[in-house]
Every structure is written in structure tokens, then in C-alpha cells.
Symmetry: C2
Subunit: 346 residues, 2 copies
């Protein structure tokens, strides 16, 4: 092998500081960000260094967009739906209730117009955004009691955020916002009845199984949650093309790598959770149907009030119609037989 | 923006010639290869140029591995199962009957030991291999007549290759090897009864719908087909680290990008195929069950004869067990409800 040559002296040293919306303890969520930064450094032989900070170290987890917009930090790794208070159209770029699953989201962003619609919105916040990782379909959270009917959702104090919170309000529940650190004691003392987070790998760390043993599937409000790597537009524009390409491709890698890590880790975590007493439950079909109807109404209501949300959802739902129909033919018919065959075919 | 600086004069100019196993007409299969080469050039400012050739221009589509092994060309983009005649263990690195789906394959390669097992095998052929793109679950092909029972497979002249061909032999069919250009006339004249290729987007180009209108789902022998970018080991070892990283990350990008293109294009193609007369059919459950059993026997038989195949399949099947169980909980329960809800919930 020949010696590795150094990049030209002419290549500028660029140093960015960047914040994640996630603390280090969530090693896939935070770790994906860490790997993107490492890959960018590797592809530029250390000339472009993005220093990653976990949530709370230099900015709070939900202040990442504000800090990048203001230029306090150059970049961040976050979920756009954290900012739906500013603009509801931020929601579908992360996840929608009964929306596109992980693979379908990638197709929508890259080939269905999703990236262009997201760019248009982020630009108004002085931000350049790239998709960068996904969780896969999430779990529906931890419940102190079984949910066997829609009626049992009435008054349910459920720790859940964002549009999904609004959806559960429409279903009669009482969604509450509780800081992550307070979820466990609140469940233990019965201040809340249920709480959702991500999936087995992350949920295991929080140890909710000890205080709320019914573990529901699926998290129909997050059939995937897509993250974005966001950069201050002025900082991004100043990058040499090579550094922009390095960042783009590192984020594209994260789109498949993050969910692959979850797919590897979740089965092991789920086994341990079940051994620790978790009772797996699927949502009763009437609950899913009521939620589907409530979601259709919610999307229609927000669309009437917000033209941008309406325009994003028009693209999203057209794409969803095509994807849902096609996936039933090959992908889902395969999965349905194969996933259960080892148990059912003798 | 500051001017883009050039890479150091010290960075070596590297020129490779590389061959695809696919002709240009299959624009996603061949196009993925084209994009990998373009991305590598972009990430090295044109210093590392891989010139892509379609199948047949400098080497035949099924001779890519031989040519790379011999060093006639430096690299190629191919499916490892084309070479199972040399070694059956090449098969599971592309696809297995009733095997891992696209997302699960990515997880197995990166975190379940798949990449290490593949590297060990390719090394014996003087080759460095990286996963680089996937088709998603394929269709089951075009049939002149409906298949309503296992009995109807008996004697069926089915154009299908590889381990899937062996599987159909065990089911009583008569798999035949026919060059792609001859499939259409053979179907038309009834020389064969059925033929499979990939999925709607690629199948549409071949126009099989005119001569065999029953279109079966799913292609249970290819729940995804993973491609590899293969490099001659000596050529790869001589690359500066930066060029190796550029190639790695370009291929990682292809792992999500190729299937995203298919997911975008397949629904449109399927609509046109149905409009042109395609009759969609799902395999009857008894056919799937017979195939599942025949596959288990086939894998056991080959494993008894070939220790390496046995070792790869041991890893693969252990991972498959975990993945199939976990995917039923969140991912598949979500898909099953959501994909059909627009039609079923009122």
C-alpha cells in the first residue's frame, strides 16, 4: 500500500460545534450523531471537524433548532416534530400517525418530494437540513392497566407528546407533558397511567417495566421517526463543496445504519424485558380504527387552518396511498407468511 | 462561499475499470453502480475515478467475479449468488428463500456478523466486498396459467435460477435456464410456462404481461436481493485510506438509496401493468407451506455437504429467528393495520 497523502494545505480547517436533542445514555440516538461527525472528519482527513455535544451540555434538547437558527452553534441533530409549536408542518418530516414507515419515508424524502418540501420550510429558519437516521416502528408505550376498549382511553393520563398527544385528546385521553426524568416516579405513584418513549432498546434503560408492565404494540403514531442533521445556512454555504458532499453522504449512511442498529438491539432488549415481567399486548382493533378516524379528522382540521401543512400533507398522503397499496403486494405478503412460518408450518 | 480548494497534488490519480452484472436498460440495478462511481469521484475531487461498464461491454454479466479475481478489471457490481456454482455459501449474501428482508439484511451484515462472514469467503477469491444496494421484496413472476395448488407446480417449466431453482425442483417443477433475451419468445410459444425476474419496474420493460398475464406475489425466494461492490484485493489495498472510506460510504448510501428508488418506481409500474392486463395473484398458502418445508430440507441437505454454507446459515438463521420474532411485534403489526386501513376503516 502506498502512504496516505495529506489533503492540500489549501483545504481550510473548519471547526463546528453541534448539539444533539438526545443525551448520551440513548446510545443509538446520540451515537448516530457521533458517527456522522466521525465520518465527516474521516472523509476530510480531519480538516472539517464537527464536535458533537449531547443534549443539555451546550443547549437543551428542544432548543437545538433555535440555537442553529441563531448561529449560536453551527449544527445539530434533532427531530423536526419537536418544533411543531412553531409550525405544524414540521411534524410530517419526523413521523405522522398512521404515516409512512421507515423505508417509505426514505423514498418520500429522496424521490417523492419530501426533501424539497422540508428544505423550503427549514430555509425560513435559516437552516439547511438533511435526513439522518430513523428509529423504525416504535412501541406504543407502557401502561399500568390493560386497554381492552376505546372507552378505557377516557381520562387516561398518558405521557405522550406532539400531534400524537392531540390525537389522544380526540380519543378522550388526557395526555400530559412530563420531563423524562419524572416519568418513572410519576408512573410509580400513579400520577400518570401510561408513558411512551421509543422501543425496547431505549425503553429498557428507563426501566418502566417495573412500574407499568403492559407493553403495547405498535406505536401507530410513530411508524418510524426520522431525524435531521441541521446546519446554520450561512455556515453551510461557506463550506467547500467537498465538505458539503462529505456531510451529505455521512447522513445518507445514517439513514440505513441507525435503524440497522435498532433492528439488531431491539430483539435482545425485548427478550430481557419480557423476562423482567413485561406483558406484550397489541392494540385492540377498535382502538386502532378509532385512532385512524380521529387522525383523518385531525389532519383535515389542521390543514384547514394551515396552508403549508395542507400542502405537505397533500404530497405525503398521495405518496402514502401509492406505498401502502404496493407494499401489500410483495413486501407485506412476504412478511406475513415468513415471520410466523417457523411457528405455524409443520 | 469560499472557493473550493483542490486536493493536494500529492493525492494520486487512480483510475479503475469496473463492470456491472446488469445492462443499462435496468436503470436502477445499473444506475446504482453508476451513482456509486460518481459519488466516489465527487468525494475525491475526481482523483479516484471508477469507470462503470454495463454487463457485456468488457465482461459478461456473470463473469464479473472472475474478472475481478483475476485483476482483469479492478472492480464490479454484482450479486454474489450468481457464483453459487463455485461455492453455495455465496447464496445467502444475496438472498435466501424465506430469508431476511431488506432491512433485516442490512442489520445482519453490519451488526449480526454477515459482513465478516462474507469477507472471509470473498478473500479466498482475492476480493474485497462491500454491500451496495438492494431490490426490496421481489415479485414471484409471470405465469401463463393460474397456480391454485402444489400439484399444479408439477412439471411446470419455470425460468428461475440458483437455489430457488433447486427449491422448485424439490416441489416437482422443471426449472429451466434461459437467457434473458429468450424469455419473451419462449413464454409466447409455450416453451416455458412461467418466468420470474425482479419486480414491476424491471418486469415492465420486458413486457412479459403480453404473454403470461398472471403475476404472482411475493417472490418468496428473494425477500430482497443484496448487491455487492467487489474490488480486486490488491487494487483495494493500494488505495489511500481516504479513497477506501469514500468507496465504503458511497456503498452504504446505495444500501438505502437503491431500494428507495424501487419503492418510488414500483407502484407506478404496477399500476401500468395492471392496466395492461396483469392479473395479480397471491401464492396459495399450501404452496407457501410446501415451499417452506422444502427449503428447510434443502438448507439442511446443503449444510451436511458443505461446512462453510452450514456455518453461514447458522449465523443467518439465528439472526433470522430474532428478527422475525421482533418484527412481528411493532413493524408488522403496524403495517398490517395501516396498509389496509384506508380501504377497511369507515
Amino acid at each position: 500500500a502506498i502512504a496516505t497523502p495529506a489533503l492540500a494545505q489549501a483545504m481550510p480547517e473548519v471547526r463546528w460545534r453541534a448539539a444533539s436533542s438526545f443525551p448520551r445514555v440513548f446510545d443509538v440516538l446520540y451515537g448516530t450523531f457521533d458517527r456522522i461527525c466521525a465520518r465527516v472528519a474521516q472523509l476530510t482527513e480531519g480538516k472539517f471537524r464537527i464536535q458533537p455535544f449531547p443534549a443539555g451540555e451546550i443547549v437543551g434538547g428542544l432548543q437545538v433548532l433555535d440555537a442553529v437558527q441563531a448561529g449560536t452553534i453551527e449544527a445539530g441533530h434533532t427531530a423536526s416534530y419537536y418544533y411543531l409549536g412553531k409550525e405544524p408542518a414540521f411534524a410530517p418530516f419526523t413521523a405522522m400517525c398512521f404515516g409512512l414507515n421507515t423505508r417509505q419515508m426514505t423514498a418520500w424524502f429522496r424521490y417523492g418530494g419530501g426533501n424539497e418540501l422540508a428544505a423550503e420550510l427549514f430555509r425560513e429558519y435559516n437552516i439547511h437540513a438533511i435526513t439522518a437516521g430513523d428509529t423504525g416502528a416504535q412501541m406504543g408505550g407502557w401502561f399500568r392497566n390493560e386497554i381492552t376498549s376505546v372507552e378505557q382511553l377516557r381520562g387516561l393520563k398518558f405521557r405522550i407528546t406532539g400531534l400524537a398527544g392531540q390525537l389522544f385528546t380526540r380519543l378522550g385521553a388526557a395526555p400530559t407533558l412530563i420531563a423524562p426524568a419524572d416519568i418513572y416516579p410519576s408512573l410509580e405513584r400513579g400520577v400518570i397511567d401510561a408513558a411512551e418513549f421509543v422501543g425496547p432498546h431505549d425503553d429498557e434503560r428507563a426501566n418502566y417495566v417495573r412500574v407499568a408492565r403492559f407493553y403495547y404494540a405498535p406505536g401507530f403514531w410513530e411508524p418510524g421517526a426520522r431525524l435531521h442533521f441541521i446546519s446554520n445556512q450561512r455556515a453551510y454555504a461557506a463550506l467547500p463543496d467537498l465538505y458539503k458532499h462529505a456531510l451529505d453522504v455521512a447522513c445518507a449512511e445514517a439513514d440505513s445504519d441507525m435503524v440497522a442498529r435498532y433492528d439488531h438491539l431491539n430483539p435482545q432488549a425485548l427478550r430481557r424485558l419480557v423476562a423482567a415481567g413485561a406483558q406484550l399486548r397489541f392494540w385492540p382493533r377498535p382502538v386502532l380504527e378509532a385512532a385512524w378516524r380521529a387522525n383523518e379528522e385531525m389532519v383535515a382540521d389542521i390543514s384547514r387552518q394551515n396552508a403549508r401543512f395542507a400542502r405537505v400533507m397533500e404530497s405525503y398522503n398521495r405518496f402514502r396511498g401509492d406505498q401502502f397499496q404496493w407494499f401489500r403486494i410483495a413486501e407485506n405478503s412476504y412478511d406475513n407468511f415468513a415471520f410466523s412460518a417457523a411457528q405455524t408450518v409443520r
